[in-house]
Symmetry: C2
Amino acid sequence: MLTKKGAATKARIIAGAAQLVAVKGAAETCLDGIRAATGTSKSQLFHYFPEGKTQLLLAVAEDCSQRVLEQQRPLLDGLDSWEAWEQWQELILRLNAPGDGDGYCTLTALSGQSPQTVPGVRELLADHLERWHAALTKGLTAMRADGLLREDADVDELATAVLAAVQGGAMMGRITGSTAPLRTALTVTVDHLRTWAPPPPPPPAAR
Amino acid sequence: MLTKKGAATKARIIAGAAQLVAVKGAAETCLDGIRAATGTSKSQLFHYFPEGKTQLLLAVAEDCSQRVLEQQRPLLDGLDSWEAWEQWQELILRLNAPGDGDGYCTLTALSGQSPQTVPGVRELLADHLERWHAALTKGLTAMRADGLLREDADVDELATAVLAAVQGGAMMGRITGSTAPLRTALTVTVDHLRTWAPPPPPPPAAR
DNA sequence: CCAGTTCTGGACTTGCGGGTCCAATTTCCC
DNA sequence: GGGAAATTGGACCCGCAAGTCCAGAACTGG
C-alpha cells in the first residue's frame, strides 16, 4: 500500500539522499540533513524506510545503479560497431563530467564506504558490475561474430579491461578533479580493442 | 621534541589506526577503538595528534601512501624491460591479495571516504597518483629510448592507462572478492603496451 | 640525581545523530 | 460523505564518540 503522494515522497527522499551522499559521503550524511533537503520529517523517513538509514542507503544504491545503467542506454546495448563504441566513450565522458553527479558520484561514494557498513551494498555493486560487464561482452561478442574482431579475441577479458579502465579512470578523475585520466584510460583501452581487429585482407591478388 | 618511546607510540597508533580503517572504514573507526587496539589512552591520541581524528587520519594516509609505493620498490623504479613489467605485475597481484591489506585497503578506504571529510587527503592522494604515474612513465620512456617501444608511443598516456587498470581492477576485486578482475585488467593493459613494441625486423634476406 | 619536559591513565563533558512515539491530518475507496 | 488506512509533524530519548582536563609516572639532559 502506497498512495501516489506517498510514492512521490519516497522518491523525493531517495533523490535527496542520493544528492547528499554524492556530495558529503554516506557517513557524513545524517538523517536530519536528508530531512531538511527533502522537506520531510523524521517520521516520514522511518515510515518509508522502517529499518532506518541502512535501508535508505541501500535504496539509494539501487536507484543509482539503475540510473547509471539506464543513462547509458540505448548505446550500452548496441556496442556492436566501432562507431557505437566511439559514441559510448563520449557518453561516458559526458556522464562523468564535473556536473550534477546524477548517480555516478553517489554510487562511487557508496562503493568506497558502505560495503562494510550497509549489508547488501557489496552484493548490489557486484551485480551492478556484472550487468555492465555483460553488456560490454555482448557487444564484443557480436562484433566478433561479425568479423570485426579476430576469432581468438577473449571478449570476456577485454570487457573486464574496459570496465576497469572506466572505474579506475573515473576514480583518478575524482581525485585530481579532471576528466583527463578517464578520457585517456578509455581511449587507450578502446584502442586496444582495435588491435584485435582482424588483419586487413591481403591485397586481392596475393596468395 | 619526541623521545624514542614517544615516537614508537606514535607509530603504533598510526599502524593500529590504519589496520582498523582498512577493515571498518574511516567513519566507522572511532578513537576508542584505536585506543583499545593500540593499548593507548585517549590523552595519548590527542598528545600526538592535537587536532584530533582528522590529523590522525591524514597521518595514516601519508603513512600508507609511503608504504604502497615502498612495497613496489625496487621494481617500480626499474620498469625498463618486459621482464621487469612481468615481475611488477605479479608483485601487484600479490600485494592486492586478500591478506593483511598492508596499506592497500587502507588507502582505498580513505580515498573513497575522507576526501570530503578530511582536508588534505585529496591533495595527498593526487600526489600519490602523480608519483606512481611518474615512475611508470619513467620506465616506459627508458624502454622507448632502448628501442623496446615505438618512437611514437605516448608513454604518458600509456602510464595513465596502466594506473587506471590497477585502480579499477583493484576496486572491482574488492567488490567481487576476487583478484581475477585485477589480474585480467593488468594483463590486458600490459599486453597493450606490447602492441607498441616496434615491428620485428624483416627477415634478414627479404626486402 | 634532580629539575623540566615528555608521556600516560582515565574520568568527565558535550553535542550530535539515529531511532521512537503519538497525535493530527490527509488521502483513498466505497 | 464517511471511515479506514496512509501520511505527516515534531518533540523526545538515548547512546556513542569526539574532545577536555589534570594528576601522576617516566624519561631526558646536565
